[in-house]
């Protein structure tokens, strides 16, 4: 039986319950055992007045990226959904409300715009909801019911999630939603008997894996909570704000505090202050906020104070494209700020890694006494995946602090030069361990000193320390066969999934191609990357920025050709375009 790999879009006007329907759909399909990657989008302006789209790719094997095309489009508002038609693949199914309040003129219905090969299913979503529940509000549920009926999916998966979502709102609301759903289901069963879109759920997993539907942002917040976050300081900015919202609800229950600061500078200042005082703290921002933080981050570098900063990238420069995805802060994250200020920059590639590496970043920040930037982007932050519960919870927090030994009491040198570059860090208020901490260059005791040898020595110390961190940082992960490769694809962050899918498809076509996932962007594992590159005739680095920022960073490690594949359209990279590039490059090689 061929595996399922389908993409469903729900599109409506805000107020239609589009996002709620998408969430229920994802949860239900997850319950049915599918792997899911979902991505919602909404316009930059005011959320209350725009088009809402939820996009879910689900299948029987692990979903790594979004797909090129939509196979099923559910329109809750034709005027909005018409714009999604360009996404439809061949023979796509389009479900739409065929009983609008009055007649509409030519072109106002989605049916006027679909290609002849599209399969239209007109169903009276609004009427069904209103008859079943006395309100049209449940039209999104009626639409889900219609879809479930057409697809022949067991409705119990939906009952479970509807129940979970609405139970707390009381019996009346729950029943209204269940009734709307059932009305849609019955309609589809009676009008389209031979379920035209049979979606067969995968066989149940042998060992039942509990899965949780989670966004990248939620995973980051959970990672921080499990790391024992005490304080969150932030200033709202898309796409980082949901982290603050999540923590505002959860952190106080754990005894922590969320403080909305007046800007990003004060946010990072407060984070440094907290860590300085021995409390784990975090801030999350986007490109414009990271730029404001640059000076303070370098203070963290100079004063060797830990900090955890999430940079949720969006289109830039400046205010840029607030609701579009891009990977163009890599240079700013790695090099941004005055002076030689090395810091750790780590980029998760999926939702589970958002959790794991945020958690890890606290330990790294403490151990290496440095700001750690967790670099994500709009697509990774807002996408949802049904991750195994074991991958995103219950991980033990590790205290990374190295405290000075007792013997140093009274003669404590905070910035003592050691082979590793790490000097034990005392917390303020410890008797006999008092030291000045400053942004000025300083001696081992912390006293300001601008002399040549001191600056040379301290620069070296700070860089040595960061290089040492490689041992604790996740190494690059290779996905390929042994031996020489015609092409190696190296990718990072949210684009890695698309790159891996492209490589797996290329390999199925018999091409000698491999993929390398780079997680730690600074410091990076030069040796492993070099080794991988040395086996590749050519290297391709696809990324969502104009310059090829990862290529700029690591391209010099390869003796051969490094091909950049850059796009700045604000939308995630797709496996198909990377695959096309791979084929194009290898074809050129053969001619």
């Amino acid at each position: 039986m061929p595996g399922v790999d389908l993409t469903i879009e729900i599109c409506g006007m805000s107020g239609d319950g589009t996002i709620a329907a998408g969430t229920l759909l994802n949860e239900a399909l997850s319950g049915a055992g599918f792997s899911i990657i979902g991505f919602d989008s909404y316009p930059a302006e005011i959320r209350g007045f725009g088009r809402c789209v939820t996009r879910s790719r689900f299948g029987t094997s692990r979903m790594l990226a979004l797909s090129d095309h939509t196979h099923v489009l559910i329109s809750l508002d034709d005027q909005q959904a018409i714009s999604r038609i360009s996404m439809l693949g061949k023979n796509a199914k389009v479900l739409f409300d065929n009983k609008p309040a009055g007649t509409v003129q030519e072109g106002m219905s989605i049916a006027a715009h679909t290609a002849p090969d599209a399969d239209l299913y007109g169903m009276p979503f609004t009427d069904l909801a209103s008859e079943a529940a006395g309100t049209t509000r449940g039209k999104n549920l009626a639409a889900l019911g219609c879809f479930t009926g057409l697809a022949g999916i067991d409705p119990r998966f939906f009952y479970t999630v509807i129940e979970k979502k609405f139970r707390a709102k009381g019996e009346t609301v729950l029943n209204a939603n269940l009734n709307s759903f059932n009305a849609g289901l019955t309609y589809a069963h009676t009008h389209f008997e031979d379920a035209p879109l049979v979606i067969t759920a995968p066989a149940p997993e042998k060992k039942k894996v509990q899965r949780i539907m989670l966004s990248g942002n939620a995973a980051i917040a959970r990672g921080a909570l499990d790391a024992g976050l005490a304080l969150y300081f932030g200033y709202p900015i898309t796409p980082a704000t949901p982290i603050m919202e999540y923590l505002a609800k959860t952190l106080p229950q754990k005894g922590g505090k969320v403080v909305q600061m007046e800007d990003e500078i004060s946010s990072i200042g407060a984070v440094l202050g907290s860590f300085y005082a021995g409390k784990r703290a975090m801030t999350a921002t986007s490109g414009p906020g990271l730029a404001l933080m640059a000076e303070m981050i370098s203070l963290g570098v100079m004063s060797e104070t830990p900090a955890v900063i999430v940079d949720a990238q969006r289109g830039g420069p400046s205010t840029g494209l607030p609701t579009k995805t891009e990977q163009s802060d890599l240079h700013a994250a790695v090099f941004g700020g005055p002076g030689d200020s090395p810091r750790i920059v780590i980029a998760p590639t999926d939702v589970a890694e958002c959790y794991q590496f945020t958690l890890k970043s606290f330990e790294l920040a403490e151990k290496y006494q440095t700001p750690v930037i967790v670099l994500t982007d709009f697509f990774l932050d807002n996408r949802v995946e049904n991750v195994a519960a074991a991958d995103i919870s219950g991980k033990k927090r590790v205290d990374g602090n190295i405290y000075p030994p007792k013997k140093e009491q009274g003669r404590y040198q905070r910035y003592l030069v050691t082979p590793s570059g790490i000097s034990p860090r005392a917390l303020p208020g410890s008797e006999g361990y008092i030291y000045p901490a400053t942004g000025l260059e300083h001696t081992e005791a912390g006293l300001p000193d601008y002399s040549e040898p001191v600056h040379m020595q301290m620069n070296a110390k700070r860089h040595t320390k960061i290089r040492q961190a490689l041992a604790d940082l996740p190494p690059p992960k290779e996905f390929s066969q042994k031996g020489p490769l015609d092409l190696g694809v190296i990718a990072w962050g949210s684009s890695f999934g698309a790159a891996l899918e492209a490589v797996l498809k290329a390999r199925k076509k018999g091409l000698a191609v491999g993929a390398l996932k780079v997680i730690s962007l600074f410091p990076y594992h030069e040796e492993q990357i070099r080794q991988f590159m040395s086996r590749c005739r050519r290297v391709l680095i696809p990324e969502l920025n104009f310059q090829g920022q990862l290529a700029n960073l690591i391209g010099h490690l390869h003796h051969g050709d490094v091909v950049r594949f850059n796009r700045t359209t604000g939308t995630p990279l797709l496996p198909s375009e990377i695959l096309l590039k791979i084929q194009e490059l290898l074809q050129k090689d053969n001619t």
């Binding site: 739409f96 009983k99 509409v104 049916a111 290609a115 002849p116 007109g122």
Partner: protein
Amino acid sequence: MREDHFIVIGNGPAGSQAAFTLKEKAPEARVTIVTKEREGCCHSHLLPGFLAGSISEKKVFAISLDHYTKSGIKLRTGQSVVDVNPQRKEILLEHKETISYSGLIIAVGGRPYIPEPLLAYREHLCTLKTFQDTGTWRQLLPAADSILIMGGDLTSLAVTKSLLALKKKIYFMLTGEAFWPLRFDKALQEEVSGKLTKRGVTVLAGNKLVGIEPVRSGSCRVYVDGQKIKVDMIGAFFGLVPDIGFLRRSGLQLDRGVLVDEYLCSSHEGICAAGDCAQIYHPEIKDYWVSIGTKNARSLGKIAAVNLAGGRKKTRVDRERIFDIQGVKVNTSWWMEF
């Protein structure tokens, strides 16, 4: 000046031909086809061969969907017209969208006719008109050893031929309407009956159906007069009736089909009809006739389009090919050797 917008309802041989001709005669005009079929132009006459496996799906849909797009024709599939308003020059689609036209061709063909007494057994009767219908046949055929063909219009003979090729046991019930739309007479009945029997078909001539009783999924016990036969499938072929129910409120002159003159123009300006759904006036016989068959449909579609685009072309039909069936004059171009 507002651009012309020609709408063709139906994408069978008549409708598709009409649309392509319109685009040819009036290249500047918008041409839209609205069809309730989900697929492209289905050549129904190839469906029996498709069931037998001798005709490919690609051949059944001889015109590719791309060809419409490339020709500048907007094809709306899976959309039904539920009303026509000649005063406002508008059609209304089932999903409540109205479209204005400057010229309209109705080419909705026919739908399978089931005689009133048999409606009670509808769920056991398989018809074959659209490509979707083949789904049921293809689902049931592999497990069906014996099949009863009822009614017996021209299509039933083609279907029987295909089923014999699949080595099925066929029972054939020749009734009074057996040769619709051909003239029914004893000589013809005997001729066909003889040919069928020679091919191994069990002919139940002149018998009357008493009842149908499902046995297990798909199989039925059929009571015909005194006898009882067990079959795995029943095909019903009682001819096609013009599918014009949606025009009842339009004010257009209707009888069995849409009444049109020899130029295929209806009682209302700017509206023509073509193909199986048109009932055409024939000045020589001073009566209306219905045309059946793919070739007829195509040529009528072309004539309707030429005339709607400002031409003046008459339909032509040989007198001797017109048959009188239940008071309706029928022309068929496809009576084939069985």
